[in-house]
Symmetry: C2
Subunit: 460 residues, 2 copies
């Protein structure tokens, strides 16, 4: 080996076959569900104009955008003065493009650019990688996939109900049977602020109570006090944060609390309407929980908000979303509101691994390997190979006559569930020897029966 | 609209739902075929270390690599002297990462990094975008997908035979019925150089005759002369370039011509072995043609080379590949040879559009839209919606009670083949009104029959 042993950039990953297959299993269930609910796929370029991305994610976000150096002589129009002004102003002069940071801004851009051709409500899903120059750490990558679904152009609460249905369907189909979909509403948060005498301060409230799980009640209270929320308001907030019970118990209590708050009443109305829609459906495995402490970056959301937690597993939320106003306002097109949500595929992957929920047969690609003992066996095997493939069975013939041990090891390593052994005896009798690599069982069968046996063993 | 009307970088594309669906139709047939032949998926990061990519594509290629600006203060360690040396040396100092330029170099890097865990022969496919700072023009993009399949770690000619089978299967399955898989062998080209008295000059020969289609015989001859190929050699080359006929006619002629060339004999042996393997299979639609003028960037390939042309369509090759030595030598790991090929998805897309070969039902996602006349109908429709989805039918309910015309327009624009009309009459009778949007036909049926009707209409 030369000394330039190659490596990949930190925070990025190669996905080898075994991992791709498992990830595709997750993606395919998400896609199938999105499509079953009428969402259509959209794909946008990895590169966006830097001007499209800048200013959409706050100062900190802007720093985390990966910029692409202009091609050719990027120094061409750069003067010594430009250089003296430091790297930030220089960036804009030597870089016009950047890698997308999320899927929401490209979606907004797409809607604005194509607004005359889109028939609203527009239901789109998008499953693509995004890039962030974050410091890499466990579970945080510089390249990772987002799986977003949004409906824009309707205020119908049916969309909110369907988000809950989709979260339930995807996670139940993946085999999770103990997870909670928490929901809340920005109106409730505004109403609570009003009710405790901190009208209009819901943003500060939310930033603080968002940390409740992590830092505890006392730290949250201190933060509220630091932000100038009165001691009385902090005291009044306590019992509200401790409200619990199922939604049918909570709603009347909140009704009483938020009686005089317009925003609070809007929140309760929306939640009741969403629950009424949900009443016509049945959920698979999801538990529903109204959680008035759920905040989720409130500045963005304006209506219902959602978050999914897998119970009894140490893992942050694996899905979340909410309703927002004015998606496309950043590009000068007002009045396009919507509601969307996304799945965190890396976290779902880790949860499925931990709970051992990846089905064995989701990991199979090649169904059968034909052994290769010698030239005669190889010649005999070629039409067998074609017969298997024509029957829709993924099959391969080991390309060289080599030690059986090596061939079996190859099948093992590729997770191939069957090996078809064809030696001189088998060629003579036409009874081929099918070995089940999981059980070790071997059967002597004519080809036609091997085909049906393998077809029956295919994943549904 | 504000004046910052957003746009996308030149040479990049948004793929709206109608296009994504068609592209996915192509990708899914390619993937299914790769997998049926035992290839496993690999995914590598979009960003590679610049040092991994530099020097692999020649000077011109290096210029076309998109470099990523280091994040944070990239000017931190830059001195005024660095700036004076121009943009090329500066690039390496302010950019450590770059976007991948093809899938071959990342594949080689992956093989080297994981050589101890890979069980050879390693059959991988990879379908991911690549980025090139080429001047955009019709059919040439700065972001485009490559679909590569390679086998490394075996010299078996079965791999070459299977490449032809896969090309045939993918293109036949896509509905193409008149295409030619041309093949050649580097050994034949070397042998021809030897036979005309230009031993070792096959690289020059190839660069020139590669242009035969575009510039014609006379221009090719002039180029050969300019490169110092003797007049006698040029003259002797003519009848060889005009060799035609099917492979069974050509082989004896080439045998005679290349009798004394070791390389020529190696080429003929390989081709005969590959054809012998192919003889045990049957091709669907592909015509096979041995074309001694096929050159395809010879420096890279060392054995068989392939290229596919759709007949009677103005379009360059839509697939190609060949055998190469020493894939991973660039990273200091010698002796890993292989054979690979790829599909040009953008070109295949254009060919299918031109020949109108995209199946109608490959463009359907939502199978049925339920109309929404009023609140009562909406409530009635919710369990209907769930019943349809539970039966595996992609269904949506228009989320608002609005003008029927708008709802029908929505169905039209989304290519939804059925609309289920549920008004007061339908709710009373339980006979729902299913409208086929393609034929205009309407049927009154109970829900159970609608479910079976829709299930039967699903694409296979």
């Amino acid at each position: 080996m030369s000394k330039d042993k190659p490596s990949i950039p930190k925070g990025t990953r190669d996905f080898g076959p075994a991992t791709v297959v498992k990830r595709n299993y997750i993606f395919s269930i998400i896609k199938r569900t999105f499509e079953k609910f009428g969402f259509l796929p959209l794909e946008t370029p990895a590169m966006e104009n830097l001007s499209v991305l800048t200013g959409k994610y706050g100062d900190e976000g802007d720093q985390l955008i990966f910029k692409i150096l202009n091609s050719g002589d990027f120094l061409n129009k750069i003067t010594p003065q430009d250089l003296e002004q430091g790297y930030k102003p220089l960036t804009r002069k030597i870089s016009e493009k950047a890698l997308r940071y999320d899927l929401t801004v490209p979606f907004a851009r797409y809607v604005v650019m194509n607004r005359n051709d889109i028939s609203f409500p527009f239901k789109r899903y998008q499953i693509q990688p995004v890039w962030r120059a974050d410091r890499p750490q466990r579970g945080r990558y510089r390249e990772f996939y987002q799986c977003d679904a949004d409906v824009v152009g309707t205020n119908s609460l049916l969309c909110e109900a369907e988000i809950i249905l989709m979260m339930d369907e995807v996670l139940s189909t993946l085999g999770l049977d103990d997870f909670t979909i928490k929901f809340n509403h920005r109106g409730l948060l505004a109403g609570i602020a009003e009710a405790i005498g901190a009208f209009g301060r819901e943003a500060d409230l939310c930033v603080a109570i968002d940390k409740l799980d992590k830092v505890g009640q006392e730290a949250v209270n201190n933060e509220l006090r630091e932000k100038g929320i009165s001691e009385e308001a902090v005291t009044q907030l306590q019992p509200i944060l401790e409200l619990s019970g199922d939604v049918q118990d909570l709603l009347p209590q909140l009704d009483a609390l938020l009686q005089t708050s317009e925003e609070g009443q809007r929140g309760l109305r929306d939640i009741r309407q969403m629950l009424a829609f949900l009443g016509s459906f049945s959920l698979n495995k999801a538990k529903l929980q109204l959680d008035v402490t759920l905040a989720r970056g409130l500045s963005y959301y304006t209506g219902c908000i959602f978050e999914v937690k897998v119970n009894n597993v140490q893992m942050g939320s694996i899905s979340g979303g909410g309703r927002y106003d004015n998606l496309t306002g950043m590009f000068g097109l007002p009045g396009v509101s919507g509601v969307g949500f996304s799945f965190g595929v890396d976290r779902i992957f880790d949860v499925l691994e931990e709970l051992n929920l990846f089905p064995k047969d989701s990991q199979t690609i090649t169904q059968v390997l034909i052994s290769n003992f010698d030239d005669a066996a190889m010649r005999y095997s070629l039409p067998v190979l074609q017969t298997l493939r024509k029957a829709g069975i993924a099959a391969e013939l080991f390309p060289e006559s080599t030690k059986l041990k090596k061939q079996m090891g190859y099948a093992d390593q590729k997770n191939i569930p069957y090996v078809l052994l064809i030696g001189s005896e088998e060629m003579e009798s036409g009874q081929l020897n099918l070995r089940n690599m999981r059980t070790g069982e071997q059967k002597s069968l004519p080809l036609a029966e091997i085909v049906s046996e393998l077809q029956n063993s295919l994943p549904a």
